[in-house]
């Protein structure tokens, strides 16, 4: 738990440092993002549906959390 918090704090500091990294040029150009913008490339096309399914799993499993952008784990049912 403590180790995880240390990692989170370190990542927060990394984020602040990254504000000076704007000179890094995007290696995937905006005009090359046709596939990336495709809905089938979304981690959560339909948040209400994904949240419900996370919810089903969390209610029956000991594990929870870190479900990312798909919405994670209110475990009903």
């Amino acid at each position: 738990m403590i180790a995880t918090k240390v990692v989170l704090i370190a990542l927060a500091l990394f984020t602040l440092l990254c504000s000076s990294c704007s000179r890094v040029k995007p290696w995937v150009k905006p005009y090359e993002r046709q596939h990336i913008a495709d809905p089938i490339m979304s981690f959560s096309r339909d948040p209400v549906s994904d949240a419900y399914l996370s919810h089903v799993h969390d209610a029956r499993e000991g594990a929870k959390g870190a479900d990312g952008g798909s919405g994670g784990g209110c475990g009903c049912n």
Binding site: M1, T4, K5, V7, L8, L11, A12, T15, C18, C21, S22, V24, K25, P26, W27, V28, P30, E32, R33, Q34, H35, I36, D38, P39, I40, M41, S42, F43, S44, R45, D46, P47, V48, S49, A51, Y52, L53, S54, H55, V56, H57, D58, R60, E61, G62, A63, K64, G65, A66, D67, G68, G69, S70, G71, G72, G73, C74, G75, C76, N77
Partner: protein, 411 residues
């Protein structure tokens, strides 16, 4: 006499399954409101979903409606209304109480504010049922970097729950336990190539009982009992849990666009907690887009976990340990899930609506418990077989079907 004591306490098992839900509401909602890539506001949309879970003697169904709307170019607001209607005669319920029906209603609101490449999110959720109330407050911040190829997201949520208990369906005013929940999240999304996106998530959570009296615990289900050996038979007494629970989870997922109109997605998560459970799950999904109006999704998921330090299907005697549980979600087990789903994009144009879809998804779960025994043949139709020795009864397993049907409208 001991068994009678347990029977008085364990009168109604309403909340047996739902208990685990409020523990996690914070994690769910704060993240749902956050867009994966923060440089744009989330889509304006309405989703109307009807859900159903059926398996293991439990049927849960109800609606969920999500509305998200922009205010100007920098603010997005959302609201969700969710209902669970539960009818339960699960093995846990039958072991210590009678079947029950109940309803849980949940309301959530959220707001996102976008400033350049930064997005701030606030959320509030209220969940209410007759023996459990939960309030959750959440906040988050997202920032994109490197031409929006990288998105960092931090989130925090705080929850306050009141755990109650019903006796013969009536709330017991003398039983009210307070619980606090906290969750800290980090999420890194990265566009790796023009066909590949990866995401790393880390989440730590804690839940703790507040101002407990001697012998009280708030993290277990107040209706559930542990089982111990008494004169060659099983006897039941209320479970005893620790007063705190810390969890850590790390996940990695990636999604790759295939050379044709399809993508493949892989997820992996590792989990551990202060109760001794370690777990992992992995999932593969294939998504095929047929001519942009019909989308097919196939998936396969596996999950496994070890037991909690204080779990046992049958303790050797009364008060064998300071903490004792017989919650099958704390037992060792593995599960497999297969899923298939279709999304159909309506061809017609409705004034004011940019796109509309109808969606039907079905998941079938099979859970095999490795140390949770069906000691009275609750899952079957026959009477229990007396030839089994106590503690050597058949292991329990269940199959469940999860159906989601919803329509979505984008504005």
């Amino acid at each position: 006499m001991v068994v009678q004591e347990a029977a008085v306490v364990v009168i109604n098992a309403g909340g047996l399954i739902l208990l685990r839900m409020r523990i996690l509401i914070a994690a769910c909602l704060a993240v749902v409101w956050l867009p994966v890539f923060a440089a744009v506001l989330p889509d304006e949309r309405v989703d109307i979903l009807e859900h159903q879970y059926e398996g293991g003697g439990i049927k849960v169904s109800g609606p969920s409606v999500l509305v998200r709307k922009n205010i100007g170019t920098k603010v997005s607001v959302s609201a969700n209304y969710y209902v669970d209607m539960v009818s339960s005669a699960s093995i846990d319920v039958l072991a210590s109480a009678s079947r029950y029906s109940e309803e849980r209603k949940q309301q959530s609101v959220g707001v996102d504010y976008m400033f350049d490449r930064t997005s701030f999110s606030l959320g509030y959720t209220n969940s209410d049922e007759n023996d459990y109330q939960a309030k959750t407050y959440s906040l988050g911040v997202s920032q994109t970097f490197f031409g929006d190829l990288t998105t960092l997201n931090f989130g925090f949520s705080f929850g306050q729950d009141v755990v109650g208990r019903n006796i013969k369906g009536v709330p017991d005013p003398s039983f009210q336990l307070d619980k606090d929940r906290r969750s800290y999240r980090f999420n890194l999304s990265q566009i790796v190539t023009k066909n590949l996106i990866a995401e790393l998530s880390v989440e730590s959570g804690t839940e703790a009982c507040i101002d407990m009296k001697e012998g009280e615990t708030c993290l277990n289900n107040p209706y559930r009992s542990y089982s111990y050996l008494l004169n060659g038979a099983r006897a039941l007494l209320p479970e005893k849990y620790p007063l705190t629970h810390n969890t850590d989870a790390v996940s990695l997922r990636a999604i790759y666009h295939l050379p044709y109109s399809a993508s493949i997605r892989a997820d992996y998560r590792s989990f551990s907690d202060s109760w001794g459970i370690t777990a992992s799950n992995a999932e593969l999904r294939y998504i095929h887009d047929f001519k942009k109006d019909l989308l097919l999704e196939l998936k396969y998921r596996v999950y496994s976990q070890t037991e909690a330090d204080f779990y046992s299907d049958l303790f050797p005697y009364k008060d064998a340990q300071n903490f004792m549980a017989r919650d099958k979600e704390l037992s060792p087990f593995s599960s497999k899930t297969v899923g298939v789903g279709l999304t159909y994009k309506f061809p017609w144009v409705i004034p004011g609506i940019e796109k509309s879809t109808a969606n039907l998804y079905w998941d079938h779960m099979q859970i095999d418990y490795e140390d949770f025994r069906d000691y009275a043949n609750f899952s079957g139709t026959k009477a229990p077989d007396a030839s089994y020795k106590v503690g050597e009864e058949p292991l329990y397993n269940l199959n469940a079907d999860v159906i989601r049907f919803y329509v979505s409208f984008w504005f």
